[in-house]
């Protein structure tokens, strides 16, 4: 029942060609330490499923992605994700461009072990043809024709939270859980990184049990990752790092910018990364974004 893994153990559980869902929302509560572990690995030909932010941009920049299934890719305050743009504008990236709600609907279908779920969303738009969406007809008197959103089955889901315990109980303390629950349930194996890993949640933090956003039967690996969402936000613990996001965005405009960013910022190890971006104290003090 001890689900703890090192970053190396985590990477060793993944393989080329897997479909990997990355939880969070744009620049918010992204499992960036796990993404960095993939960036430092030899993994390739991945299909990535996400409400994307710098997680998606970095994996594209590093050439890890064969296919991208996305509801959007944006850094919010920096609306256009620089490496996503580059990858799309270069051509040749296989994509499944979805409505934001399609994505969660496809995850729910996978979680509930259904082949599809019906929706009206997509009709009248180019998503119908680009994605080859099929329709179904209601068997009841209304006879309504609906889009059949296919299940988005994941081989692995990556999620970052404030706390986890050895058994895989998690607590996400922020005001918004996004669709993390459905990433967890849609995946064959779910890997959760946490700022703090305790032995038993019931011993340490029983009063926050409502922050348990999905049950531990959906968790297969727990990885301790202090500042693991950086440069995305982890409300209420720390805000996004606008300086870091700007530096990352600027790197896309330079010749060889990604290679330099990979060598000088992402670097060879996670502890070194935290130091290179200013240290844990600085990250803990990042102000929460206002909207």
């Amino acid at each position: 029942m001890d689900k703890r893994l090192s970053f190396d153990d985590f990477v060793a559980e993944l393989s080329d060609g897997m479909t990997i869902g990355i939880a969070g929302w744009g620049p918010r509560r992204k499992p960036m330490a796990l993404v960095r572990a993939i960036l430092r690995s030899d993994l390739k030909d991945l299909t990535i499923v996400a409400y994307g932010g710098a997680d998606v941009g970095m994996l594209l920049a590093a050439g890890k992605v064969k296919k991208l299934i996305f509801g959007f890719v944006s850094l919010d305050a920096i609306p256009l994700e620089p490496y996503f743009r580059k990858a799309r504008q270069a051509g040749g990236l296989e994509v499944m461009e979805l409505d934001e709600a399609h994505l969660q609907w496809g995850l729910k279908a996978a979680a509930l072990r259904l082949p599809f779920l019906p929706t009206r969303v997509g009709f009248g738009t180019d998503l119908m043809t680009h994605n080859g969406f099929k329709t179904v007809t209601s068997p009841y008197d209304d006879g309504e024709v609906l889009v059949a959103m296919p299940a988005l089955k994941l081989d692995a889901a990556l999620i970052h939270v404030q706390r986890a315990d050895h058994w895989g109980n998690v607590q996400a303390l922020g005001p918004d859980t996004y669709y993390d629950e459905w990433f967890a349930k849609a995946a064959t194996r779910t890997y959760v990184s946490a700022e703090e890993v305790v032995e038993r949640m019931d011993f340490s933090h029983p009063d926050d049990a409502r922050a348990n956003i999905f049950e531990r039967c959906f968790v297969h690996g727990v990885i301790e990752a202090k500042c693991g969402a950086h440069p995305s936000s982890l409300p209420p613990s720390y805000g996004w790092d606008m300086g870091a996001l700007k530096a990352y965005t600027a790197s896309a405009a330079e010749e060889g910018g990604w290679d330099k960013y990979m060598a000088e910022v992402i670097g060879a190890d996670e502890a070194g990364y935290i130091d290179r971006v200013g240290g844990a104290d600085k990250i803990a003090a990042l102000p929460l974004p206002i909207f």
């Binding site: 409505d99 009248g124 180019d126 996004y178």
Partner: protein, 266 residues
């Protein structure tokens, strides 16, 4: 009092789009639509629901620009995790958005411009929530730079939302939720009130001519008699706008921050 600016006139015009909408979530994306929705809630339509942009419903609209994180008081909870169930697919929402392109059918594009689908010339956000928003709830549009680049001649490059194009209607599908309301631009207000939802000119802003609007629009507009002039903000409205935008973000939305009446210097 100085003359109202065009930005302030536009905020009031945006607020009018939310008048009498009832208990629905009013979402204005960008400073002018957001100030418009907030003004509507503080004046003629207090029953509107609104969020702080993060996860909380508020009854006092949150001012735009820098502020303290905790200075909003939550009356309820509407996180992204239940947005589709609560506000979008239920039809309980009116969003005002600023797409890159709009066509005669009200189809919008925020996804990509030019090139091919495999290799777009300019990649933007992707379709985001537009397909679901437009088939389920009311939508209006704010366009700060009215031109043929936005109001295109043919269809938009990547149809990211459902409009009134009969060629794209699948028999048997339910389009009863499609509800395109107003388009507020730096020149005029338009809606889809013409025959078969054709785009109609509702009003022109002070100092703007109908011919000017026609020249900047890539498709024909329905004109019904004399086109009225968009009304100016009242002193009360200007005072509320100033409170909602204490850092004067609105002054940076329209180039050179012109006066509401183009014939008068700001």
């Amino acid at each position: 009092m100085s003359n109202p600016t065009l930005a302030e006139l536009l905020i009031v015009a945006c607020s009018e789009a939310f008048r009498g909408n009832g208990e629905i979530v009013a979402t204005g994306i960008g400073p002018i639509p957001r100030l418009g929705a907030s003004l509507a809630k503080l004046t003629h339509t207090p029953e509107l629901l609104m969020t702080d942009g993060e996860a909380w419903l508020v009854e006092e609209p949150v001012p735009i620009g820098p502020r303290a994180y905790d200075d909003r008081k939550a009356s309820g909870y509407l996180p992204f995790s239940r947005y589709f169930d609560s506000a979008v697919w239920t039809g309980k929402r009116h969003a005002m958005v600023s797409p890159n392109q709009i066509d005669r059918f009200g189809q919008m594009n925020i996804s990509a411009l030019g090139g091919t689908y495999d290799k777009p010339k300019v990649m933007m956000l992707g379709a985001r929530g537009f397909p679901g928003n437009t088939i389920h709830h009311a939508n209006s549009m704010f366009v700060p730079g009215h031109s043929k680049r936005v109001f295109v001649e043919g269809e938009v490059d990547m149809v990211s939302s459902v409009g009134y194009n009969p060629a794209r209607r699948v028999p048997g599908a339910n389009y009863s939720g499609v509800d395109l309301r107003q388009m507020i631009t730096d020149l005029c207000v338009m809606d889809f009130g013409g025959p078969d939802n054709a785009v109609r000119l509702v009003s022109v802003h002070p100092g703007v001519t109908v011919d000017q609007v026609k020249a900047e629009t890539g498709f024909d507009l329905v004109l019904e008699g004399d086109v009225p002039t968009t009304r100016l903000p009242t002193a009360d409205e200007l005072a509320i706008i100033a409170k909602l935008d204490p850092h004067n973000v609105r002054a940076s939305v329209i180039k050179d921050n012109p006066s509401a009446d183009r014939k008068i210097a700001a």
